[in-house]
Symmetry: C2
Subunit: 373 residues, 2 copies
């Protein structure tokens, strides 16, 4: 049930079938460079988040550029990435169901696999499965450093769970996971800085509690595209997990900027190609990209390249574009949209059409599309 590719290598932009998910390779490579540049002189490791792209081709490029490995959120994503040649994958999420834990353990025979825990029952299930399979599994404690989602409280509760991990011969306590997801889209630089300062305090408290129990966190991992320069400068994080930086989206574009912690070091590389399929009035066009080709959880997409056209409403298969007077948008013309939120939009597509200028240079399979289990 994989869909046919909307494009062939060598085609021009105008000949690509729509809807299509486009990657501007120049902007993508700029973003890879920009991350390296903002981290120049630091010894911190980079482990990009593959949940954004779900594409082994991109993961391999990230590793070839020096990433220690990648993160992902789901066991099935890790399977796709290991199958695609990635040798070090952190599942930056809890895994609690026995059938999934068996898959994690099986995968740990083929690659270096880490997984998170925030509950003693889950630790014991991981330990039993790893012991049965005679593998030693890396387990990190997820600490809630302010996001209010998963994770143990910082300090002693986290250290107690780490001790439980360390007590199992089939597990290795590999460090702490301290991702402040809620900080990534805070608009003002000061808000982001304050949120990460609080996260750093919680990491310090946890490291102290670990030391009091004679435990060390080899890895303190976290950070995203919105805040990673702050974690990088913190002195406590050893590993960064930016994901969206390769693509960017309309929502990240609304983050305000400050020198030195700039999400705007990154350029928009990800676009949706749409066709104008109806021109019912002077001020309205309808395009063929709706809810099944992009995710509106963070707002509507933006129209790239044209200032007088605004995507105002999405239905399942349609997008309504309001047009200012004098803006040309004839029936059958194609326009590029900037997705509201890159990660769930990528997950709707089977193929990433990679362009150099207006020429298709490659078409990469999004092999982890739908890998949500």
């Amino acid at each position: 049930m994989t869909r046919p590719s909307p494009a062939r290598v060598g085609q021009r932009l105008d000949d690509i079938d729509t809807p299509a998910l486009l990657l501007d390779l120049d902007a993508f490579e700029h973003n890879l460079d920009a991350l390296d540049r903002t981290l120049a002189g630091r010894t911190i490791r980079v482990r990009p988040h593959a949940k954004s792209h779900k594409c082994p081709d991109i993961a391999r490029i990230q590793v070839a550029r020096g990433a220690v490995g990648v993160c992902c959120q789901k066991v099935s994503e890790a399977e796709v990435l290991v199958e695609g040649g990635i040798e070090d994958v952190l599942i930056s999420n809890e895994v609690v169901s026995p059938a999934k834990i068996d898959r994690v353990v099986a995968l740990a025979r083929r690659a270096r696999i880490g997984v998170l825990a925030d509950h003693p029952e889950a630790v014991d299930l991981l330990a039993a499965a790893a012991a049965k399979a005679q593998v030693r599994l890396d387990v990190l404690v997820e600490v809630d450093v302010g996001a209010g989602r998963c994770g143990t409280p910082p300090g002693e509760p986290a250290a107690a769970l780490a001790a439980r991990i360390a007590a199992h011969p089939s597990l290795r306590f590999a460090g702490i996971h301290a991702y402040q997801g809620a900080a990534q889209h805070l608009r003002a630089p000061d808000e982001r800085r304050n949120a990460i300062a609080q996260a750093v305090d919680k990491v310090h408290a946890t490291l102290s509690a670990l030391r009091a129990r004679g435990l060390d966190a080899d890895v303190v991992t976290g950070a995203g595209t919105g805040t990673y320069p702050i974690e990088a400068a913190s002195g406590v994080y050893t590993e960064l997990q930016p994901g969206s930086y390769i693509f960017m989206d309309a929502d990240y574009g609304r983050n305000l900027d400050a020198a030195g912690e700039s999400v705007h070091a990154f350029r928009q590389s990800l676009f949706l190609l749409a066709t104008v399929m109806s021109r019912p009035t002077e001020s309205r066009a309808v395009v063929d990209v709706g809810l099944k080709a992009h995710s509106v959880d963070s707002g509507m997409p933006l129209v790239a390249d044209l200032t007088g056209a605004h995507y105002t409403k999405a239905s399942d298969e349609h997008g309504v574009i309001e047009i200012d007077p004098g803006t040309p948008l004839p029936l059958g013309s194609k326009i590029r949209l900037i997705p509201g939120h890159c990660d769930p939009t990528v997950n709707l597509h089977d193929w990433l059409v990679c362009l150099r200028g207006d020429r298709v240079e490659a078409v990469w399979p999004i092999s982890g599309r739908g890998a949500f289990s």
Copy 2:
């Protein structure tokens, strides 16, 4: 890149991998019966919308129950449905790009295919492609009856376009498409009745303008799950296109009811199965179903079966559940969710796990998943 099925025939509900999209077959069959019951005694034709399910197994069941065929929104969906054995498919949407028009024409050799137009340029493109392929294609004029999306104005503009279609020997003017999409989710029965009354006026005006040009609309097609009894009683619609009635969703559940035009004749048959993967606090659980497994465009999913648990926030791979005191929701337990909006949620899944009671009776491929081109 099709994902493995989360379930096997014969398995019990509790053994299904998550996230999974579930179909309660008893409720599904109840809904098929309920549609028949509300239309008993009318001669109106039913052409269910397959954009909701994208599943040839379901389309075949609908046709076996007397549907004249199905609708879909995209050429690639029509290809999947014809491949799956459906012999009469209306693409209830405009198709304007030459490459797609060639596919429509190719498909018209294998099945009865209809397509909409709302612009003379598109009519001429359809005519040229059909003439070249030596097929005769059914084209319906889409009339904007109040939805404010695609479509010609009612009356003379619609009749003029119909005349243009009729003038092409390779096309057949097959009728008018008069779907009032914006009325489907109006909450109050009176609002829906008024919106459809206005749509019916616009249909009448269009039929008069057609007659003045010596043209007849064999088909007047439209209506959805929220309003179809009103169109059925109008005397002008000849064909109904309900789609969501087989599944229902949280958003349709918010429509208020009135005797005789009841969306609540239908039961919820579509569910998401989720696992509790974290219990960080007494009042919070986190499940493994986030934005990549359901669409939040019409609001958050509802928790089925449990009154004291509320899905309040979705991130890419997580759903936060707020729990009232005393509600049991242990780590690793599974819960069913009612999707906020069925159509784009179905499109995120490769498989529909069909249950009879708590036993898997079938697993149907969602063959049109991702068929958005």
